[in-house]
Symmetry: C2
Subunit: 242 residues, 2 copies
């Protein structure tokens, strides 16, 4: 609640130069960075422009000099997310390396979602408020769906997977649901730490959540696999069982 006396350095650049122009650019960046942190930590709806300004020790007026309104901040953060999330998994070579690639790809996706997890926490309100965001998000989802379907068919064609088209379609939807909502689901269980020293960082241990998410998605795919792919996947999964 009370603003930290020694705020965390949210600036992305490590060697700031003190010209006015660069200071402006830095403030703009700092607003985006601290907004992302606060949105993720507290939920976008619970973070006011005042909180953001407080955390940066700047005035609300200054914040509104850099951004017309709160939605514009969200828009910029979403655009960053969209750029980072839009990568496709590699093509299938052999079954074993396909599983390794898939594992790494999923981990990369979960890292991005974690980085912008505030978007997923109340997707519904966020997208309802802004139809542009909604259509962009649907495009992202569409790409992911196609990627899963293409990968599955590729695995089928090299006899690493056995599944017909309807099964693959249903699998793809389930992969998207679990990927999109796993972090939310895990968060339901988290009990809030009762007290925290001002200025101390949040201990969230993200890596654990990400790995569990990857594991759950792999568990969706595993039962359709055959031969080497299945063996190799089980090997990968075994390393991550608690």
């Amino acid at each position: 609640m009370s603003p930290s006396k020694q705020p965390i350095n949210y600036s992305a650049t490590s060697a700031p130069v003190a010209t006015n122009a660069s200071r402006s650019a830095r403030t703009r960046e700092r607003i985006l960075n601290v907004s992302l942190h606060l949105f993720n930590a507290l939920g976008e709806a619970n973070v006011t422009t005042g909180h953001i300004a407080d955390e940066l020790n700047i005035s609300p007026g200054n914040l509104y000099y850099h951004f017309r309104n709160k939605d514009e901040i969200i828009h910029h953060l979403f655009a960053d997310f969209e750029k980072k999330i839009d990568v496709a998994p590699g093509n299938i070579a052999d079954a074993a390396s396909a599983m390794e690639d898939l594992w790494l790809y999923l981990h990369l996706m979960f890292e991005r979602i974690w980085e912008y997890r505030f978007l997923y926490r109340n997707l519904d309100d966020l997208l309802a408020r802004d139809s542009k965001l909604k259509s962009h998000f649907n495009i992202i989802i569409g790409h992911k769906r196609e990627a899963v379907i293409a990968m599955s068919h590729a695995l089928v064609s090299v006899k690493a997977m056995r599944a017909d088209a309807p099964e693959i379609k249903a699998l793809a939807e389930n992969v998207l649901v679990v990927s999109s909502y796993w972090l939310n689901y895990e968060h339901l269980r988290v009990v809030k730490t009762p007290s925290r020293l001002p200025g101390s960082p949040h201990h969230e241990d993200p890596e654990k959540h990400l790995t569990r998410g990857v594991y759950q998605v792999m568990a969706l795919i595993a039962p359709f696999l055959e031969g080497d792919a299945r063996t190799h996947l089980n090997y990968l999964k075994a390393n991550y069982l608690e």
Copy 2:
């Protein structure tokens, strides 16, 4: 946006009696009913006590005579949900009837979640705001998890399913994720109807969403099934393919 001139009759009782006592009880019920409708339609965060009072053509003061605050309304709705959702699936007899039972059980669950879907739309904020709600929700989830695990082991013991303990555990988590978030996920795609006549009911066609949800959950379970159970499940699924 503009309040309907001929509001929908949200009262649960069909033959109201005009005594003061029963009128009070009816108003209380009507507040709960209209709150549920508005929360589901617009999202709890977007519905004010003023909206609720408007829709019922009562004063804000009157609303606050019946409920201390908005959270108390939410609490009552949650309690109703908790009562309705807490049923367990039947025991396993033979493989074929087990699939039928499972299908019906899932449909029942999705009906309840649909009825109180506002709870799931921003679960995170709702549970963060109120730790009592959070612990109750975790109890519900825990029961469901146990039910899925018990059912799976029962299916394994009658040779209708092949899966080891870690697979069953992962399956149970995925069943919960997909069940909890399927309606949210589908809603992401819905394009808002541009205009709606005041007072006209929302056309959401719930049945379609529920059936698709059940289908997706069955698709999670299907690859682990064997013999009659698998055959019968495929038969059930085939009837619901679009």
